[in-house]
C-alpha cells in the first residue's frame, strides 16, 4: 500500500533521484566511529543539526501558548509550564536545548579547527559556519527575554548596553533592538518576531548553504 503510494508519487514527481542524491553516499572510514572510535568528533555537526530540529519543533509548540506581551508573557509561560500536560517537558526541551545547541556548535567548531578542515577549498564554509554561530547566539539572546522575568529583563538590559558600546553606531543599534526608549512592550514584541521568524529563517538559509557546500566539497581527508 505505502509502496504503491510512493510509486504513484514518484512516477509523477520523479523524487527518487532527489533523495538518492541527499542520502546515498559513502561515509569515509576516517569519519566513521564504527572504524575508529575517536571519529566521534565528526558527529558534532550532525548533533548540532539534530538539536536545532528539536529547538524548531519545541519552539513551534511553545508558540501555541506563549503570548509576546509584557502583561501576559510571564503568566503564559507559567501556565504552559505548570498547568499543561508535558508543559515542563516541552519548555525544558527548548530551555536546555538552547544551551546544548550552543555547546554542540562549539564542539563542532573545535573539530573543524583542530582537523584543519577550514582550509582551502572549504574556507567559505567556515565563514558560513561562523555566521550560523552568530545567528544562534542571536536566537539565544532574543529567546532569553521572552519569559519576561527579572533574569530576562536584566540580561537584556546588559546585552543591549553591550551592543550600544559599538563605536559610532552603538546608540542606533541599541534603539533599533530595543524598539523604544526602554526595555519594554516594544522590545518584547520585537525580540519575539526576531526569535521566531527572522532568525530561524536566516538559520535555515545558512544551514542549507552549509550542507550544499559539504556535498560539493566532500568531507575533509584524514589527518
Amino acid at each position: 500500500m505505502l509502496k504503491a503510494m510512493y510509486e504513484w508519487i514518484d512516477e509523477r514527481l520523479d523524487i527518487n533521484p532527489i533523495w538518492r542524491d541527499v542520502a546515498d553516499h559513502e561515509v569515509p572510514e576516517h569519519v566513521n566511529p564504527a572504524h575508529h572510535f575517536s571519529a566521534f568528533i565528526y558527529c558534532f555537526g550532525g548533533l548540532t543539526f539534530f538539536v536545532v530540529v528539536i529547538q524548531i519543533l519545541s519552539g513551534m509548540f511553545l508558540a501555541m501558548y506563549f503570548v509576546p506581551d509584557i502583561v501576559n508573557a510571564n503568566a503564559s509561560v507559567a501556565y504552559l509550564q505548570n498547568e499543561l500536560a508535558m508543559g515542563a517537558i516541552v519548555r525544558g526541551m527548548h530551555h536546555w536545548g538552547a544551551s546544548v545547541a550552543i555547546v554542540m556548535l562549539f564542539l563542532h567548531t573545535l573539530r573543524v579547527f583542530f582537523t584543519g578542515s577550514y582550509k582551502h577549498p572549504r574556507e567559505f564554509n567556515w565563514v558560513v559556519g561562523i555566521s550560523i554561530f552568530f545567528v544562534m547566539l542571536g536566537l539565544g539572546f532574543t529567546g532569553y527575554l521572552l519569559p519576561w522575568d527579572n533574569k530576562a529583563y536584566f540580561a537584556t538590559k546588559v546585552g543591549l548596553e553591550i551592543a550600544s558600546s559599538v563605536p559610532f553606531l552603538g546608540a542606533y543599534i541599541k534603539t533599533f533592538l530595543q524598539g523604544g526608549d526602554i526595555v519594554g512592550a516594544q522590545t518584547l514584541a520585537r525580540f519575539f518576531a526576531l526569535h521566531v521568524f527572522f532568525l530561524p529563517a536566516a538559520l535555515l538559509g545558512l544551514l542549507g548553504a552549509h550542507f550544499v557546500l559539504i556535498r560539493r566539497q566532500g568531507i575533509s581527508g584524514p589527518l
Binding site: I70, F154, K157, V158, E161, T175, F176, G179, G180, D181
Partner: protein, 165 residues
Amino acid sequence: MGKKVSRRQFLTYTLGSTAGFLASGMLFPMVRFAVDPVLKKGGSAKYVDVNLPISQITQEPKAVQFVIHRKDGWYEPENGESLTAWVMKDESGNVRALSPVCKHLGCTVNWNSNPQYKNQFFCPCHFGRYEKDGTNVPGTPPTKPLDKYKTKIANGRLLIGPVES
C-alpha cells in the same frame, strides 16, 4: 569611447533596473517600518514632586520612589512607572539625587547593600561600586560616575526631573 551597448546588455540592464525598482518598492516600507523607533524623538521629561520636604533630606542617601508617566509604544501603565532616586545632601548642604542605573551595563545599584563595602553603592551584576557622591570606585567595572537627576525645590519640597546629560 563610444563602446556600443549590445542588445543583450541593454535588455539585462533594463530588466535589472526594473527588478531593482520593484524590489526596493517592496523593501522600503518594511525597512522604514522596522527602523522607525531609531528615527523617532523621545518625549521630554517633566519635574515630579516626590513628596519629600527638603528638611527631611540628610547626608545619608535615601531611596526615593517617584512616578512618571511615559508611553512605551502602545502601553502606558495606569499608575505610571515607578523610578528610584538616591537622594542626599552633600557637604555644603545641596541636594544630590543619583540615578540607580549602573554605568557599567545598566543593572540597578543599591546603597550599603553589600556588608563588605560599607557606605558605597553596590551593583550585584558585576560588583560595580560607587562612592557616596556617585563617583565610580576605580578597579570595579563602571567607568563613569552615576548619573545625577536634575532637581528643583518648590515650597520646601523636592522636585525631580530628567537625568542630567
